[in-house]
Amino acid sequence: MLLKLRQVTFGYGAPLAKPLDMEIPVGQVFALVGENGCGKSTLLKTLAGMIVPLSGIQELDGRPLAEYSLRELSKKVALVRMGLVAPTEMTVREFVSLGRSPYAGFLDGRSAEDEQIIDQALTEMDVKAFAERKVAELSDGERSRVYLARALSQQVKLLLLDEPDAFMDIPRRKNLFVTLQRLSREKDMAVVLSTHWIDYGEKYADTILAFTSQGNLEFAPAVRARELGLFSWAEV
């Protein structure tokens, strides 16, 4: 099991949900849904090890998350947030190359193998055509894919995405979900993404994780989520 949560509560000060017991295996996509401000981002940051849980234990590959060094953790987990502002001089290739930083030596060099992995990530997210352009000059949708390519080049086992589809049109959103599903199977990787697009989650994710009401976080296989009422809060 990649990530095990035992009686985990999370939040800043007060817990945002009841204690959570959950297992996240590799090769699966988890869609995290819920209204604005319910705690989706806080949960993702907690899973990423950026925030210490208020109580409970997280185990990553059989070892408590708290025991990992920053560098060890960065080779297994990456959190991608779309609100990032890239410096004006940074090119797409330079940005994606940052994903190799956890593997780099003292002077932050890149080996031929690193360059190959970066190329692969660029191709995978279909951003290779503008690899030499500046990140700051891209459209929101293009930039989202570049941000994802960085996480891919980091070759993590647990990929956490905070609303990666926020700036995408319908064809690209569909594309994203298809790609994430494929990557999770091919690269033995677990993907947890937060999204406001429930129907995409239902169709392409394996598990739905939903904040159904204040302080209630439930999960169920995607095929059964609707009948179990995980989407009742979102009905029009």
């Binding site: 920053l70 960065s74 890239a86 004006t88 930083s101 956890p102």
Partner: protein, 313 residues
């Protein structure tokens, strides 16, 4: 890649040419053979070139790394109040008659700069927020400048003249024997910053992002601050408060090298800084700070206008 190699070669050739001009030209006209034996050459011109080289490297590397740490294009060695700290201690020794032992000004500037550095490091370990640190640094600078002004109003004409001339900066004060001390301080500063390249490359995207790349942000931030302070302190001690070069040069390096990778930007900025410092040093009869600002201000304005056009600011 081609562009980067070309820029490095061009800058290097510029530096060789400018150093040569500085070494052979001067008010006293002598042949090369005589020159190499003369005292003018070894006691005046060699230290002058060394001062420009070391100050150029130190100020630009310090400026670049501080701009990266603070994610602010207007940061530089002066923002942390380091130069002010050095100036204050020198003002104490020159205006108020405090004695700082054998090396006088040199010791005073180092003591002042390190006093402020320790204060900055203390603030950096208490507050993780970069903006707090930046504002605190600026405020410390203003506070110290006010203290200096008080000292100035209370001092007599003769010592004031000495202090004002120190404040204008010069590459002409370094002695042949002082080169090694200056060079060692610069090497220590450069080593601390070079050890933090991985952090600097991630830092432009924010502390959280850098941590996500497995970088120990709080440790490396302190290393870089310490390194940048040592560099700024060394320059202030040997050349006076000429920190201004530090905010202009990194922008020149961005324009030339068109990259955000500090493996290239650090040596690139250093070479640009040396070029500008040697260029300014060609006019030893004018105050260094005035010449540096005359060169530096147009560069910064140009960069600001350019990025404003692209909607960057």
């Amino acid at each position: 890649m081609k562009r980067i190699v070309f820029c490095f070669v061009a800058l290097f050739l510029c530096i060789v040419a400018l150093s040569f001009i500085t070494l052979v030209s001067g008010p006293v006209d002598v042949s090369i053979g005589e020159l190499l034996d003369s005292r003018i050459f070894w006691d005046l011109r060699v230290p002058r070139v060394a001062a420009a080289l070391l100050a150029g490297i130190a100020l630009s590397v310090s400026g670049l790394s501080l701009q990266t740490v603070f994610q602010n294009p207007l940061a530089g060695p002066f923002v942390l109040g380091i130069s002010s700290g050095a100036s204050f201690a020198v003002a104490l020794s020159m205006l108020a008659g405090f004695s700082f032992g054998r090396f006088g000004t040199l010791t005073a500037a180092s003591v002042g700069a390190f006093g402020v550095t320790l204060l900055i490091l203390a603030i950096a370990s208490r507050f993780r927020n970069n903006t707090v640190l930046l504002v605190a640094g600026l405020l410390i600078g203003y506070f110290i400048d006010a203290c200096i002004n008080l000292l100035i109003t209370m001092s007599d004409g003769e010592s004031l003249k000495v202090y004002v001339s120190w404040g204008m900066g010069s590459f002409g004060r370094l002695t042949l024997g002082g080169i090694w001390i200056f060079a060692s301080a610069v090497l220590v500063g450069l080593a601390l910053i070079s050890a933090s390249v991985r952090y600097l490359n991630g830092a432009r995207l924010g502390d959280d992002f850098a941590r996500g790349l497995g970088i120990r942000v709080s440790l490396y931030k302190k290393l870089v601050l310490l390194g940048a302070s040592i560099l700024a302190a060394a320059v202030t001690a040997f050349c006076g408060p000429v920190a201004f070069l530090g905010i202009a040069v990194p922008h020149l390096a961005y324009l030339l090298f068109k990259t955000s990778n500090h493996r290239i930007l650090l040596p690139g900025s250093a070479l640009c800084g040396v070029c500008l410092a040697l260029l300014a040093g060609l006019f030893p009869e004018y105050p260094l700070n005035a010449i540096l600002s005359l060169v530096g201000v147009p560069v910064i304005l140009w960069v600001l206008v350019r990025s404003a056009k692209r909607g960057g600011l």
